[in-house]
Amino acid sequence: MSTSPGKVASQAEAAQAYMKKGVGRKPPSLVMEIIYGISLGMFAGYLWKMHHWNNQRRTRQFYDMLDKGLISTVVDEPGED
């Protein structure tokens, strides 16, 4: 990789170089990359939240059914009252 001073430039100069000479690609936009990263992070977080809400719903259902007597956590042993 060449890092000679002649080729080091700021973001604006790199964009200008691209526009003038058509060299390389359009340089990446930092702001857009940050937006993409945050969006991906929020999406992944939303998937986790869905897992959490599902767990909460199942827990609530479990205790509702337990309170109504539809299920029990006690195994009926033969010979007990």
Binding site: M1, S2, T3, K7, V8, A9, S10, Q11, E13, A14, A17, V23, G24, R25, P27, P28, L30, E33, I34, Y36, G37, I38, L40, G41, M42, A44, G45, W48, K49, H52, N55, Q56, R58, T59, Q61, F62, Y63, M65, L66, L70, I71, S72, T73, V74
Partner: protein, 261 residues
């Protein structure tokens, strides 16, 4: 009404026989409101953890992706950026605030002392077993219900029992009842811990530590001593058996009769 299979599925969702399964990653199922609060707090914090992890990984991978002489021959040289530095200071502070609010709410709710618990049980740590005292009930000679709880050795286990977890005398308590546990030690430091109840309380010689428990369903809950206390520290487990009120009353009567005989 739902088909019978639905009820089985819901019950089975919550109870593999012992609240645990092979290669388990997460917490055991909660049996108290405190443990449920701990799990919910963990889920809240994990959301931010995932968000930050994915964001940082994305930035790292994209930086490596773009650093290519052919596609981007002229690298950028960024020295400083006041706006972004302000943003990446304020944003984490906001995240910390969102984490702190549920955290303090849970912490202070855990610290609330139950004013009038129905049952008080003392747990006394020894090397290497626990002694439990139910001082609310005295037998005819005014001696409280007291018993020792030793681990069942591996050679004496029956089929289906758990290695290093079973004890000869369980702590029987009533479900859906406010309990007060008073923990202390007769010799060295121990710790009375039951993960599914969200309880961990140090047993300090010369000191009484108190914790409150409300077990929401009948069942058997396992724990282990959680403060190094000598050579058999790993072999003094705790087993709490929550039963209905009638069964609890019968058990107390039986125990008192046996003790007075």
């Amino acid at each position: 009404m739902y088909p019978a299979g639905y009820y089985f599925a819901v019950a089975h969702w919550f109870l593999p026989p012992f609240n645990t399964e092979p290669w388990q990653l997460g917490f055991q199922d909660a049996a108290t409101p405190i443990m449920q609060g701990i799990i919910d707090l963990h889920h809240d914090i994990f959301f931010f953890l995932i968000l930050i992890l994915v964001f940082v990984l994305w930035m790292l991978v994209r930086a490596l992706w773009h650093f290519n002489e052919n596609t981007n021959p002229i690298p950028q040289r960024i020295v400083h950026g006041t706006t972004i530095e302000i943003i990446w200071t304020i944003f984490p502070s906001i995240i910390l605030m969102f984490i702190a609010i549920p955290s303090f709410a849970l912490l202070y709710s855990m610290d609330e002392v139950v004013v009038d618990p129905a049952v008080t049980i003392k747990a006394i740590g020894h090397q290497w077993y626990w002694t439990y005292e139910y001082s609310d009930y005295n037998s005819s000679d005014e001696q409280s219900l007291t018993f020792d709880s030793y681990m069942i050795p591996e050679d004496d286990l029956e089929l289906g029992q758990l290695r290093l977890l079973e004890v000869d005398n369980r702590v029987v308590v009533p479900a859906k009842t406010h309990l007060r546990m008073i923990i202390t030690s007769a010799d060295v430091l121990h710790s009375w811990a039951v993960p599914s109840l969200g309880v961990k309380c140090d047993a300090v010689p010369g000191r009484l530590n108190q914790t409150s428990i409300l077990i929401q369903r009948e069942g058997v809950y396992y724990g282990q001593c959680s403060e190094i206390c000598g050579t058999n520290h790993a072999f003094m487990p705790i087993v709490v058996e929550a039963v209905n009120l009638k069964a609890y009353g019968n058990w107390v009567s039986n125990q008192l009769c046996q003790q007075s005989n």
